[in-house]
């Protein structure tokens, strides 16, 4: 699949934003490491909302006809893309009420309830983003529960690193934040590893024989019938060499999980905590971006069978 920059930016930025605000709620309710101040919580929440809004805006650059984008919320009953839109929109006022209840010192029950709902909706929205891809039967590499799991794990990993950065800046006891980051990053790394092993042979896939129904003998493409590329070859024809994919997987692990892990230890040992936390957050997000690019580049749509691929 053709990796579109706007979609990569959208899923990485909004994933980090949704992760950050969910974990911010946890940090707020349990007063982790002493607890953030009112201002710090509000600023953190606004940064999360900024990431989400920028992400959503960038996703509209992917549309060929954005003037009809408002209609995208009308098919909630069947389309995961529509559900994602609805949940993201429902999330916004809740998140704003939550931030307002922090800022204006609203009664605790209100703050907790709205915060909880905000966190749950953030979770559901990221899950829906993953399901946009996971529900497609035409792309075997995406059609697995591992995909929404990965979207959630990476979104929350990025969010936890941003939160840790905030905790270091605020001068809190960072131990619970480091523990939380370490846990989520480990889960994300394990899930990603399982996924990478799984897509090496993702089960039974259609072949050129079932695609053409010519099952009695070997089939090969003679001619695609067009002189230059078509929409189909541009959208689905992207190919990535196995070696390059392997190299990028190493980058994903080193940048996305390894480096942040080392930096967590560094922060724990208090050797220039702020710089280390910043490096961890940046590396985590950059790793997630490489992961997302690879997620698209490695996916192979069955339409390639009609363009000569023997199996997908």
């Amino acid at each position: 699949m053709h990796p579109a920059f706007s979609v990569i930016f959208f899923t990485v930025a909004s994933g980090a934003g949704f992760g950050l605000i969910s974990l911010l709620f946890i940090a707020d309710s349990f007063k982790l490491g002493g607890g953030f101040s009112r201002e710090e919580l509000t600023i953190g929440g606004l940064i999360a909302l900024g990431l989400i809004v920028f992400g959503l805006l960038s996703s509209t650059f992917h549309l060929a006809n954005p003037k009809n984008a408002w209609r995208a919320v009308t098919r909630f009953r069947t389309s995961w893309l529509s559900r994602e839109g609805v949940f993201a929109i429902a999330f916004m006022p809740l998140a704003l009420v939550y931030l307002a209840s922090i800022w204006f010192d609203a009664p605790l029950w209100l703050r907790e309830t709205v915060g909880f709902l905000t966190a749950v909706l953030a979770w559901i929205t990221v899950f829906s983003t993953g399901m946009i891809y996971a529900c497609l039967k035409t792309i075997r590499q995406w059609n697995t529960p591992l995909v929404p799991a990965n979207y959630l794990a990476l979104g929350y990993a990025s969010g936890s690193l941003l939160l840790l950065l905030g905790a270091v800046r605020a001068g809190l006891d960072t131990t619970p934040y480091i523990a939380m980051s370490a846990l989520i990053i480990s889960i994300a790394a394990v899930l990603k590893a399982i996924y990478y092993f799984w897509i090496r042979s993702p089960g039974l896939t259609p072949t050129i024989n079932t695609a053409t129904g010519l099952t009695r003998a070997k089939v090969k493409l003679l001619d695609t019938g067009h002189t230059h590329g078509t929409f189909l070859t541009q959208e689905f024809g992207f190919k990535l060499a196995r070696q390059k994919a392997g190299l990028l997987k190493v980058v994903v692990f080193a940048l996305g999980f390894g480096l942040p892990g080392v930096m967590l230890v560094w922060v724990f040992e208090q050797q220039g905590g702020l710089a280390a936390a910043a490096v961890a957050a940046m590396a985590g997000i950059a790793g997630a971006a490489v992961e997302r690019w690879l997620f698209f580049a490695e996916a192979r749509h069955v339409v390639n069978l009609y363009h000569g691929a023997q199996r997908c």
Partner: protein, 231 residues
């Protein structure tokens, strides 16, 4: 009603006439225009609803060229419709035709991801998704003589490799030919239940390939001499 096409792979000669007729009719039809990019340039490309690909089955000397026309299959369980977030893609209950409302489409490409058959193509100049309409504006046109109320591709095919009809009616010509010739859907394992059906290539006796007869002693001497004496 469940309208669709039957394509006889045994008969299709791969002339692309159906694709041209389709483009001609639909470019000025309900969903048109169908943009072309650089039509006379170095890299011509554009929107087509019907594409013909060519495959080779088996190996020499048993090989056979198969011409393979493909357009929208008007699937019964069409994910292209369910994934569409705007409601632009829809399937008509009365005849099973899958259409795209050009006034609602936002050009997100999601439906084209969901289609296994490559039937949907984005028109870059209108920013909307386009696909085969089964010539919905022809087949119901009462101003046309009855025999012309058929999709353009079917009418134009010089080899009569295409048939159009109602698959819900067991006595229709399409249902009968599918029964008799063992018509099959493409990629059945994805469970889209495509309406369009393909008729298989008939098995024919393999034509023997004679090896070149060996020359006699005289021929061998001549060849030997030729190799020795270089001109």
């Amino acid at each position: 009603m469940r309208l669709g096409l039957v394509i006889d792979l045994d008969v299709c000669v791969g002339c692309h006439a159906c694709a041209i007729a389709c483009k001609e009719w639909n470019a000025s039809g309900t969903i048109g225009p169908l943009s072309d990019y650089q039509p006379y340039g170095a890299e011509p490309s554009g929107v087509w609803f019907n594409r013909i690909r060519h495959y080779e089955m088996d190996e020499y000397p048993n090989n056979k060229t198969v011409n393979f026309p493909m357009s929208c299959m008007h699937c019964e369980d069409a994910d292209c419709v369910t994934v569409c977030p705007t409601g632009a893609s829809y399937k008509r209950a009365e005849d099973g035709i899958v259409l795209i409302d050009q006034d609602k489409c936002m050009g997100c490409n999601y439906c084209s991801w969901a289609c296994p058959y490559g039937a949907r193509e984005l028109d870059r100049s209108s920013g909307t998704m386009k696909k085969c309409t089964l010539c919905v504006d022809r087949i119901y046109d009462e101003n046309l003589p009855v025999e012309e109320r058929q999709p353009s591709c079917v009418l134009t095919c010089p080899a009569h490799a295409r048939m159009f009809g109602d698959f819900d009616d067991p006595d229709s010509a399409v249902s009968r030919v599918v029964r008799e010739r063992g018509g099959y859907p493409l990629m059945p394992e994805l469970n889209y239940n495509p309406t369009n059906t393909y008729l298989p290539i008939r098995r024919k006796p393999v034509i023997g390939v004679e090896t070149k007869p060996k020359g006699g002693l005289k021929e061998s001497i001549k060849q030997f001499a030729n190799r020795l004496v270089r001109r």
